[in-house]
């Protein structure tokens, strides 16, 4: 031996898979780009501004309050960015930017930091932010505008001043497909739902893109395929039964699956590994639970949409599910 090598001691295994947690988070972020672009296509610059506001809120909070991770800055694992983008995609296009920023702060602050950071939280941080905004600004968050095709258009309401209580200027509020269905039994064309030419939150509208993103992520094993399958199958089955009993009063299963935030929530929020169960058995329970709750809330609840609460409720049940849904161990 010529030179004296540095020999270090540790224990096996000494090989490691290429996939790391930051890589997972970044890949998730990349798949959100087409969805963001679609939002800009339908809703103009407003979509971009809202996203930037949410992301800024998340990053600032993570930067100042987050734990220094092994990568130095807590931002580098990419998870705060994902949270910000996801939160933005659940907001309506005319949402005031300052509220979006506050939402981002709350998402990271109350959704993640107070639990102890990445991996410790019980609830999906983006949904915590969204739930806060819904409670704090119930009007703004339910003021929907249709896509207007003005790419450079910025909605007046976006620029509302903090705590300005006046009537939103020139807000042209329309009903979303879900509220139309719920309150006036007007179904929307499925083709429109698929392509996204409807009013709704920024990222909820183009079902086709969300489906593609979901397939890609499941194929890449970034998300667990069981979750979307369980949720969508449950929703389709349950609402299908209801629909068959009274087709004139209740929406079709196709509509139920494609409309509203179900796909966005299914692909990106319910699948958040941190707040979903570990074992396959637990994951099935979790997904079926969400599916049932979504249909229950949408059809019989007071709200047109129930995805957020359904996921948050099942998030809350996850520690319990984790404890009891065990794997069958080899040889038993």
């Amino acid at each position: 031996m010529v030179n004296k090598p540095k020999i270090t001691i540790s224990t096996s295994p000494f090989l490691h898979d290429q996939v790391t947690t930051p890589k997972i988070m970044w890949e998730l972020a990349y798949t959100l780009i087409p969805i963001l672009l679609a939002a800009v296509y339908y809703f103009g610059l407003s979509a971009l501004l809202i996203s930037l506001s949410c992301i800024a809120g998340c990053l600032v909070t993570e930067y100042y309050l987050g734990k220094r991770g092994p990568l130095g800055s807590p931002l580098r694992d990419g998870s705060a960015l994902v949270t910000g983008l996801l939160l933005a995609l659940t907001l309506p296009p005319g949402f005031p930017l300052w509220m979006a920023f506050v939402g981002g702060v709350v998402a990271i602050g109350m959704g993640k930091v107070i639990w102890g950071g990445l991996g410790q939280n019980v609830f999906n941080p983006a949904l915590v932010g969204r739930a806060f905004l819904q409670a704090a600004f119930p009007t703004a968050i339910t003021t929907w505008e249709p896509p207007d095709g003005r790419y450079w258009g910025v909605r007046g309401t976006n620029l509302a001043m903090p705590f300005y209580q006046g009537e939103p200027v020139d807000a042209l509020s329309t009903a979303t497909p879900l509220s139309e269905m719920k309150f006036s039994h007007e179904p929307t064309e499925l083709a429109d739902l698929l392509l996204g030419n409807i009013s709704g939150s920024l990222g909820e509208t183009c079902a086709l893109l969300l489906l593609l993103a979901g397939l890609y992520l499941a194929f890449r094993r970034i998300i667990n395929w069981r979750i979307p399958v369980a949720i969508l199958a449950t929703v389709a089955l349950f609402s299908g039964i209801v629909y068959l009993l009274a087709p004139d009063r209740y929406p079709s299963p196709g509509f139920m699956v494609l409309a509203g935030g179900l796909l966005l929530g299914t692909v990106y929020m319910a699948t958040d590994p941190v707040s979903s169960p570990l074992t396959p058995k637990g994951i099935w329970i979790f997904g079926i639970g969400i599916g049932l709750l979504v249909v229950l809330i949408r059809i019989w609840g007071g709200l047109p949409e129930g995805v957020m609460y359904a996921i948050l409720l099942m998030n809350a049940a996850t520690p319990l599910i984790n404890r009891f849904a065990r794997t069958r161990v080899y040889g038993y």
């Binding site: 540790s10 000494f14 090989l15 991770g69 990445l118 161990v329 040889g331």
Partner: protein, 450 residues
């Protein structure tokens, strides 16, 4: 090899559920023919080179011993004999460094520089003439142990009682650890001995079916063994298995081939299976046909920090340093020296210990392979659950271990874990799962009333 042969291996390959696909790194040494290590000046033979009681020395300082001659006898039933790897003089019986990190009794032999080192041992009675008990005793006397790494005495495993019915004899040529190629080369270059040894064992075991399981990344071994079996007219099924870690674990092999699980706390023989490493079977043939007890074994010396990766036939007791130097030495980039493969191998502090019966490989890695990956919190992605071949919940076990909740760990089947390391391999947050499970297991065992 021809295209059709390759295709024959691509038909649906059997395997087990879960597992991981680490990079194989076999190409460093899988085409290197086995080379014979030249004799060195001095050999150190630990009395404990197997699982069980140490062997009892039969020689004293100054005594001349012959190559293949008995120098220590089995110290108990679960123990085997030990033989001199060279003609030479015993220089000491004392405490020496053992690859397991301890100082343990060993016999030191100075090689006779004037000897030709021809093996000159009396012929053995042929196994076909032996009664079963004599056969078992002969294997113990031959010093044969499982050469896959565990070094469990072969005679104990082969000594089936009346109510243990062996329906399937399975030879394990999977070699699923990345880098290692010694079993591969043994199967290719000692195919006849392997088939002969299998025939000898089968004579006593009388299994309904004999299998040799080989991961499909060794097509030449599959073909060579099929040809050798056909030539010998011995009915054995050579089964290529999917390349997946840990395919070579007994339980995983049984799952792959028979689709059966070994019930918890039971042995393969309880589901009618006897598993043996291929190298041990070659040793069996060599003992009966060539009167050569277990005095040497094939070792893969490999890794990016080894100058000339090779498969070497090494006399037991050879200092690892000499062996590595025979392979060109290690480069300045060396970062870890391991005994065994990268998934389950044990780190060595130095090369100053001898080669023993259970040494299957010496692996020297550089920083590139062992680069430290940043550790994050568990993101509960479930990858470790999908990797664990025993369907355990490594994420939960790891968490419980970090909290020191040993009872809960036991309740979550921590003791079933066989430490394959697949969970740590896949964890994207680089959590040392198997490492903490190992700690938990020893804590559980310590607290158990004996």
């Amino acid at each position: 090899m021809t295209g059709s042969n390759q295709n024959a291996l691509k038909d649906k390959l059997l395997t087990f559920r879960h597992g991981v696909h680490p990079e194989e790194y076999k190409e460093l040494s899988n085409h290197q023919r086995i080379e014979r290590m030249p004799f060195v000046e001095e050999y150190t033979l630990p009395l404990l080179q197997h699982i069980g009681a140490p062997s009892k020395p039969l020689v004293h300082k100054g005594q001349y011993v012959r190559r293949g001659g008995l120098i220590a006898e089995a110290g108990a039933y679960v123990s085997v004999a030990l033989h001199a790897p060279v003609d030479g003089t015993v220089t000491d019986v004392g405490l020496y460094g053992h690859p397991n990190g301890q100082m343990l009794p060993a016999i030191k032999i100075r090689t006779d520089p004037f000897s030709t080192q021809q093996l000159d041992q009396p012929a053995q009675r042929q196994p076909e003439e032996l009664a079963k008990a004599e056969f078992i005793e002969a294997i113990q006397r031959a010093g044969i142990v499982g050469l896959g790494g565990a070094a469990f005495p072969a005679h104990v495993k082969f000594n089936l009682s009346e109510n243990q019915l062996c329906r399937y004899l399975m030879l394990n040529g999977c070699e699923c650890e990345p880098f290692l190629t010694c079993d591969h080369r043994v199967m290719v270059e000692y195919a006849e001995e392997l088939i002969d040894g299998t025939r000898i064992l089968q004579h006593f075991i009388q299994a309904e079916k004999v299998y040799i399981a080989i991961e499909a990344n060794k097509p030449d071994a599959v073909i060579t063994l099929r040809a050798a079996a056909a030539k010998a007219g011995f009915p054995v099924e050579i089964i290529p298995l999917q390349v997946k870690y840990p395919q070579g674990a007994e339980k995983m092999m049984i799952s792959a081939i028979l689709g059966k699980e070994v019930p918890a706390g039971k042995l393969p023989i309880d589901v009618g299976v006897l598993v043996s490493n291929v190298g041990s079977i070659v040793a069996l043939s060599q003992y009966f046909r060539q009167s050569q007890p277990l005095i040497e074994r094939v070792i893969t010396v490999t890794g990016p920090a080894v100058r000339r990766p090779a498969n070497v036939l090494v006399p037991l007791g050879t200092p690892m340093r000499s062996l590595v130097e025979f392979c060109g030495g290690i480069t300045g980039e060396a970062a870890r020296i391991l005994l065994g493969g990268p998934m389950m191998g044990i780190v060595q502090k130095s090369l100053d210990t001898p080669v023993v019966k259970g040494t299957s490989g010496i692996l020297v890695l550089t920083e590139r392979e062992v680069q430290d990956i940043d550790t994050f919190s568990c993101i509960r992605c479930g990858r470790c659950l999908e990797a664990c071949p025993l369907f355990l919940n490594p994420a939960r076990l790891g968490l419980l271990a970090r909290k020191g909740l040993w009872e809960d760990m036991e309740d979550n089947n921590a003791l079933d874990c066989f430490e394959c390391g697949a969970c740590s391999y896949v964890c994207p947050s680089a959590i040392p799962l198997v490492q903490s499970i190992k700690v938990g297991k020893s804590m559980i065992r310590e607290r158990k009333p004996k």
